[in-house]
Each structure stands twice: as structure tokens, then as C-alpha cells.
């Protein structure tokens, strides 16, 4: 079995209103060293794939098909055998 941790966040060029609002709230609480903050999504998925490369393939395609809106989001993932 394989375990994938997938992190989805806004593309750099896309406005992240939630991140902006949270950042200014932190500044009001005097966390002035917070330079930027991005809110994203985190998925954990277990896969019954035959091989690591199969699992890798599946992770990429579920990201593309459903988890990630490629018009505005980007993703990274970690994959390991468990």
C-alpha cells in the first residue's frame, strides 16, 4: 500500500483572499514578522497500487481530474510505501 500526502494551494499569480485576510488579522495581533500566508488544502490518501510508479500515476491523475482546479490551483505531493 502507498500513502500520498497532497498539498493544494492557489497558484502564485492567483489572489488568495483568505490568506490575505488571515495575514492582516495576524498583523493586528502584532505578528508583524508574518510576511505572507497562504491557505490551502491537504489530502491524505491511501492507494492499493501495484507499484510506486502506478501510485504516482494515480496521484497525478486524481489531482488533475478532481482535487485540483488547474485554472487556479497548484499541488505538491509526497508518496511513500507503507
Amino acid at each position: 500500500m502507498y500513502l500520498a500526502k497532497i498539498y493544494v494551494s492557489h497558484k502564485k499569480s492567483i489572489l488568495d483572499p483568505q490568506g490575505e485576510a488571515i495575514k492582516s488579522a495576524l498583523h493586528r495581533l502584532n505578528y508583524n514578522d508574518v510576511n505572507s500566508i497562504t491557505q490551502g488544502k491537504y489530502f491524505i490518501t491511501k492507494l492499493d497500487s501495484q507499484s510506486k510508479s502506478d501510485a504516482d500515476q494515480t496521484v497525478r491523475s486524481i489531482c488533475k481530474d478532481l482535487l485540483v482546479n488547474q485554472n487556479m490551483e497548484t499541488y505538491q505531493y509526497e508518496l511513500k510505501e507503507v
Binding site: 499569480s13 492567483i14 489572489l15 488568495d16 483572499p17 492582516s24 482546479n69 488547474q70 485554472n71 487556479m72
Partner: protein, 734 residues
């Protein structure tokens, strides 16, 4: 395109770079040889291409749009400003406009719909009005296709996200389905605002030395060149490869509404003009404000708040980042305005000044990056007219379809479950329709109604268009769209006072689409003149086609009516068992473009017959009079699905039944003859009602306590359980 290094003026000319921005060779040559007498640099060429796009300049449609009638005696502000305004008495004005966001909502339905809502709201409050209501008119392909269901769900989510958060009630709208919208859904949003006439604000940048202040979200690379994007048609190969999508921030917009209204209402002496940054962003708003004042502007792009480093002038000017406003403020008073913004948690920044040389002059890093006349950007845009040729399809229509209906009861049940007719409650319940505590009639009735606080008045509002009729006959279709909107207003107890439009059409260079556009504008104009409903604002969305196949021409009509006294507010549901049921208007065998034709033949064809604007007008005036005289209990307009559907919808709210007899055949229960209404009347008002209405009404039955629909027809009887019908109607969307 985003990463493209700036080409030299010669490279732009030699490699025809302007073409990828949608500018034609001829237009480029006009700029070089007739207007500038030199080669434009990258920024200048980009600005001109953006501003000369159809979306910003209306170059293909202006000659037709001039035909709209916008003169009525109550018009305070016609088309041209962000939105139009109409006098509603007591020194108050109603402001409204509709706008399309079709292409962005197909690419990214949630953000596309959300930013569509945000954009139209800015048009309203920049006029000084408090936005009081939203309506959404949506069209999708058939729900049998999962992609369309996804588009609908996400579009609705996006509208709810933005409208609910900002606190403007969604009080109406409609949703229709047809495979013509399969790859080109329509998202049209209308916003209505109210203000004191003294606060009416113009979008002007005048007075040499006055300051241009930027406020709102920072400028990013989102939606760059959205204006030219919106003006280009889709092809499949493009579907997966999109440049940045705009993201809406309703929280930012809420702060902007409150801050800008505070400034307009309390500091109008130092505020010269205010405009939102919509299509073609900063360049469009600043150049248009300068053009209206016949002045110029000097802007320092280094001062424009930017979200990303290393943005080029082209990107800063044409970015369509949302939630941004531009103000022109009297010299010496900048701090007052900036301090108000600060109080609302916003950063206002002076980015330039008004000049007297008429130039649009921009600097970045100390260098001039653009220096061209404002009128070249805004007023020198070429206009195009195209020949108006009647397509063969309309000249020689197919034979008229007449359905065979053996079991009218079963047909009624089937039609009620068609998504276009079925209850939209599962969608409407996702919209906050009551925030601001003015909503008297929430979505789901013929018209949405809000009262005007601290007066006896109320406003009825609606959006309508049946693209099928317009497809079959653009001129009559335009008349019908306007008529149906007016019927909905009257059914709510309102006197129609004005209209707005969203013209959703195909490529104007395609002769059939151009014909449809020209003729439907003629039809709308004819109806508006007769109904005394001037068109005070509007929007054009062209290139609604995928792989060269245009959608049905869909000129959405948004209409507002004034209810002079709130006891005239009327709804479509029957109120008491025993009330008499009447039909207003005559019924003929009209099935061309009808829901029953679509259901049986899976396509539409034929001629639109029996429609007469004078009859429409006469019936509507009588219905209005019957409401004002307090003679009716409920009024419901007849539209898709005809009389059968209308009777059923009259019963559903309180689960009544109907017992009646009609001098009609079973199929005629579903004819879509126009100019008709179903009205219920208390027995004691029978004589007064009949006397007023004369021969345009006919009593057809009675409301019963027992929830059974019994109709005696010339060829058959209907005997259906109201609860079964209602269930079909309620589940049609799922």
C-alpha cells in the same frame, strides 16, 4: 502570453503581434497611419487592442444598440454611465443593470459566477446607490449531461458565496436548460440599487490637477486581457489551456461598498468621479473617466498597488483583478478620502492626476511608457455594420408542429418535471434572499419584490428570455421576451418602469447571428416604447458559440416595476378554496418553440404566430388595474408549459385542488400562446372583476380544498392528484 518579453514597435508591426490580442490588420494600420502617425509601443498597442475589443468598445454592436429606446420621462440617467437610473418619486431613484459573465463561468464556474456578481454590484454602488437586490438568469445544457450538472452546481455555489457574503439578497432570476447551451452556459446577473437623487454620481475625471485615487484589491496578473478573452469564441483545444482566472473576494467588496457609499453620501463636494475597474481594468476606467470630461490623465504605474513583482505596464493596465475602484478627487482633499478608506480597513493611493492636454500619459520607473490621446483609446474606435440578411431558416420555416396528446394529465406531470419548468427551490434556498430585511416576495414567484423602507412603496423585479422563440423569430422573440418580463412585473402588482438587457449572441460577423441581434433589438425596442419601459442600461456578450455553433440568441430582459402601495403586492399562489379561477387572453394552437415541442421532438421549429403587442399591452393594463382595484387574490403569468403548468403552479404553495371546465382540447393545455394569465378571484368580487376585465377573461373553474386537479376538456378529462404533480415538479431538478 504572460511571460512574453515586450516586443519592440517594429516587431509588433512585422510579427503582427496585435493579432493575438484580437486587433485586426486594418485597425492596426488605422492606429499607425491615421491616429498616432507613428508605431505604437508594446504597452500602447496592448491598451488599444484591449480597449478596441468588442467587450469594451461595442464596435460591432453600437450602431444597433443606438436603436434602443431610453428616453422615458422618468429616466434620470440613461445608458452610458455604469448603470442607468429612474425616478421613483419621493426624490428617490432606482438604479439597475444586468451583466453577463458567460465565458469565465464556463471555464471556472465558481469564481466566474462569483466575480460576475461582484462586477455588477460595483456598477451599482459606483452610481451612489445602495445595492438592494440581485437576480440571476442562468442557462445550461441539458442536465442529462453530468458536465452541465457540475456547471450548474458550481455556478450556483459561486453566486451564493458572493451574494450571501456581501449581504445583498438574491430575490429572483430564472434557470433554463437546452442543449444549445451545452458548451456555453450563460450567467447573467442583474443588480438593483436605491438612492436619493441628490447622490447620483457620475464617472468623470475632470478638473486639472485633481487626483486619481486607486482603492481596493491589489493588481495581479489575473484575468489579463479578459476583455479580449470574452470577445473570442471557444474551441475545444483551448478548453484545457487557460490563463489566470480571477478570484472574487466578497469581503473586500463589502468594505468597498460601505466606504464608497460613505464618501459619495457625505463628501460629494470633493468627489469628482468614481468608477469601478471592470473589463480592461485600470486602462478602461481611467481612460473612460477622462474621455467623459474631455481631459487627460498622468498616471505613475509605480504607485499602483501590485500583488506580484515585476509586472509590466501592459499587465498592470489590463489586469482584471477584482474589487478595485478608481476615484477622481479634488486637489488638496486626498487625505480626507484616504482617511475614510483607512477607517474601513482599505488603502487608498493617489496614482496620478488629471491633465489638460488630453493625453493618456503613463510612466513607470521614471520613463514614459504610454503617451497617446485619450480619444484614440476611447472614441476613435472604428464601428462596423454588417448586412442584415434574413436566414432561409426563418424565411422558409418548417411546417408548424401540432402535438398529439392522448393523456393530458400524464403530459402535465411530465412537463412539470422538465428541468426548465420544475421547481428551482433547491437552488434558491442556497441564496440568502432576506438579508437587508426588505424582501416581501423571495425567488420562486413571477417577480421578486422588496419594499422600500420607510415608504409605502415596493419594487418588483424580474429577468426573462426564451431563446427558443428568439431563434425562431428574432423580432417577435424580442417582443415576447420584453412582454414576458412586463407580465411578471404586473403579476407581482408592479407598474413596469424600465428595463435593462444582456444580449447573449454568437459571432456578430456571422450573418445569422447579426441578423438575430439586429432584429431582436428592433423587437425589444418596439415593446419597450409601447410599454413605456425605457432601456436604461445593458451589456452585450458576443461569440457565445463553441466550435462555430452559436447558442440560441438570448437577449435577456431585466425589468423593474414600481408598486405604489405595498397592499398591491400580489403573488402567484391561490389563497382560498372556493375562489374563482380565470384565464386572461385567448389560447391558440401555438407550439413552435414550446416546451412540449422540445419534449416530444427534441428540437424546435416552426413559426411564432398569434402574438400581438397591442393585445399584450391591453391585457396587461387590465390585469394591473384589477390588482390596483383590489379585485384579485393571485395572478400568475403563463409561460413555458402553458395553461396546464400555470394552473398547477397556482395550487402548489397551499396544496389546493382545481375543478374546472375548458373549451379546449387536451393539447391546448400546453400551448404557449402569449399575453395570458391565470387569476384567482374571491366569489364576492366576481361581478366587479368581470365588469372591469370585459371579454378578455373567462372563468375556467374554482380552487378546491381537496388537492385534486380535475379539468373537463373537449376531447378528454384530466384527473390528477395535486400532491403527485407537486412531487414531480419538486424533483425535476434532481
Amino acid at each position: 502570453m504572460l511571460k512574453q518579453a515586450e516586443k519592440s514597435p517594429e516587431e509588433i508591426r512585422d510579427q503582427k503581434i496585435y493579432r493575438q490580442w484580437g486587433m485586426s490588420d486594418n485597425e492596426y494600420h488605422t492606429v499607425v497611419n491615421k491616429l498616432l502617425h507613428r508605431l505604437p509601443n508594446f504597452t500602447e498597442a496592448g491598451i488599444l487592442a484591449g480597449m478596441w475589443s468588442e467587450h469594451c468598445s461595442y464596435k460591432n454592436t453600437k450602431p444597433l444598440l443606438r436603436h434602443f429606446w431610453s428616453k422615458g420621462s422618468k429616466v434620470l440617467e440613461g445608458p452610458g454611465e455604469d448603470a442607468g437610473a429612474i425616478d421613483i418619486g419621493d426624490n428617490q431613484a432606482v438604479i439597475f443593470k444586468a451583466e453577463s459573465h458567460n465565458h469565465p463561468s464556463y471555464v471556472e464556474p465558481f469564481e466566474g459566477a462569483a466575480t460576475g456578481v461582484g462586477g455588477i454590484i460595483r456598477d451599482i454602488f459606483s452610481m451612489g446607490a445602495r445595492p438592494v437586490a440581485l437576480l440571476d438568469s442562468l442557462r445550461f445544457g441539458e442536465l442529462t449531461n453530468q458536465k452541465n450538472k457540475f456547471l450548474m452546481d458550481r455556478t450556483v455555489d459561486g453566486i451564493a458565496h458572493y451574494g450571501n457574503s456581501i449581504g445583498i439578497p438574491t430575490v429572483g432570476g430564472e434557470i433554463g436548460f437546452d442543449s444549445t447551451y451545452d458548451k456555453n452556459s450563460l450567467v447573467n446577473v442583474m443588480c438593483v440599487g436605491i438612492e436619493n437623487q441628490d447622490d447620483l454620481k457620475q464617472d468623470k475625471a475632470s478638473g486639472i490637477g485633481n487626483s486619481i485615487i486607486y482603492v481596493g484589491a491589489k493588481t495581479g496578473r489575473d484575468g489579463i486581457n479578459g476583455a479580449t478573452f470574452a470577445s473570442n469564441e471557444f474551441s475545444d483545444s483551448k478548453e484545457s489551456d487557460r490563463s489566470a482566472v480571477q478570484v472574487g473576494d466578497p469581503f473586500m467588496e463589502k468594505l468597498l461598498v460601505d466606504a464608497c457609499l460613505d464618501i459619495i453620501h457625505h463628501h460629494s463636494d470633493i468627489l469628482v468621479g468614481i468608477q469601478d475597474m471592470g473589463a480592461a481594468g485600470l486602462v478602461s476606467s481611467s481612460a473612460e473617466m477622462a474621455s467623459k470630461a474631455k481631459s487627460g490623465v498622468d498616471l505613475n504605474l509605480d504607485l499602483v498597488p501590485q500583488r506580484e513583482p515585476h509586472m509590466t505596464p501592459y499587465e498592470i493596465l489590463l489586469s482584471e483583478s477584482q474589487e478595485r475602484m478608481l476615484l477622481c478627487v479634488k486637489k488638496g482633499h486626498e487625505k480626507t478620502i484616504i482617511d475614510i478608506f483607512k477607517r474601513f480597513g482599505l488603502d487608498g493611493v493617489v496614482i496620478g492626476h488629471v491633465n489638460n492636454n488630453g493625453q493618456y500619459h503613463l510612466t513607470q520607473h521614471g520613463e514614459t511608457v504610454c503617451n497617446i490621446p485619450v480619444h484614440t483609446i476611447v472614441d476613435d474606435v472604428p464601428e462596423y455594420t454588417h448586412p442584415i440578411i434574413e436566414p432561409d431558416r426563418i424565411k422558409h420555416p418548417a411546417a408548424d408542429f401540432v402535438p398529439t396528446v392522448n393523456d393530458a394529465g400524464q403530459m402535465l406531470a411530465k412537463l412539470l418535471s422538465q428541468p426548465t419548468i420544475a421547481s428551482k427551490q433547491s437552488v434558491y434556498r442556497q441564496y440568502d434572499s432576506r438579508v437587508q430585511t426588505n424582501t416581501v416576495v423571495a425567488p420562486g414567484s413571477d417577480a421578486g419584490i422588496i419594499r422600500i423602507r420607510h415608504t409605502d412603496k415596493a419594487l418588483a423585479m424580474t429577468t426573462d428570455c426564451n431563446g427558443r422563440y428568439v431563434y425562431l423569430n428574432p423580432e417577435i422573440g424580442g417582443e415576447i421576451a420584453t412582454s414576458e418580463a412586463a407580465r411578471n412585473i404586473v403579476a407581482g402588482g408592479g407598474l413596469p418602469i424600465g428595463a435593462t438587457d444582456c444580449l447573449n449572441f454568437g459571432n456578430p460577423e456571422d450573418s445569422e447571428s447579426y441578423y438575430a441581434l439586429a432584429k431582436s433589438i428592433d423587437g425589444i425596442t418596439k415593446a419597450c416604447k409601447l410599454f413605456d419601459t425605457p432601456v436604461i442600461s445593458g451589456n452585450v456578450s458576443l461569440h457565445n458559440e463553441t466550435d462555430r455553433k452559436p447558442i440560441y440568441p438570448t437577449p435577456l430582459i431585466g425589468m423593474v416595476g414600481l408598486i405604489k402601495h405595498d397592499d398591491e403586492i400580489t403573488t402567484q399562489d391561490a389563497k382560498h378554496a372556493g375562489d374563482l379561477v380565470y384565464i386572461v387572453g385567448k389560447t391558440y394552437d401555438d407550439y413552435s418553440g414550446s416546451e412540449i415541442q422540445k419534449l416530444i421532438q427534441h428540437q424546435i421549429s416552426g413559426r411564432i404566430k398569434h402574438f400581438d403587442l397591442q393585445t399584450e399591452n391591453k391585457n396587461r393594463k387590465l390585469v394591473y388595474q384589477s390588482i390596483v382595484n383590489h379585485l384579485v387574490q393571485s395572478v400568475h403569468d403563463l409561460s413555458e408549459g402553458g395553461l396546464g403548468v400555470s394552473i398547477a403552479e397556482t395550487l402548489f404553495k397551499h396544496d389546493f385542488g382545481f375543478n374546472g371546465q375548458l373549451d379546449l382540447l387536451g393539447r391546448q393545455l400546453f400551448a404557449e400562446t402569449q399575453s395570458r394569465y391565470v387569476i384567482t378571484v374571491a366569489p364576492k368580487q366576481k361581478n366587479a372583476f368581470e365588469k372591469l376585465m370585459g371579454d378578455c377573461v373567462k372563468q375556467i373553474g374554482q380552487i378546491t380544498k381537496e388537492p385534486i386537479v380535475k379539468i373537463k376538456l373537449n376531447d378528454q378529462d384530466v384527473n390528477m392528484n395535486e400532491t403527485d404533480l407537486k412531487q414531480k415538479w419538486e424533483r425535476g431538478l434532481n
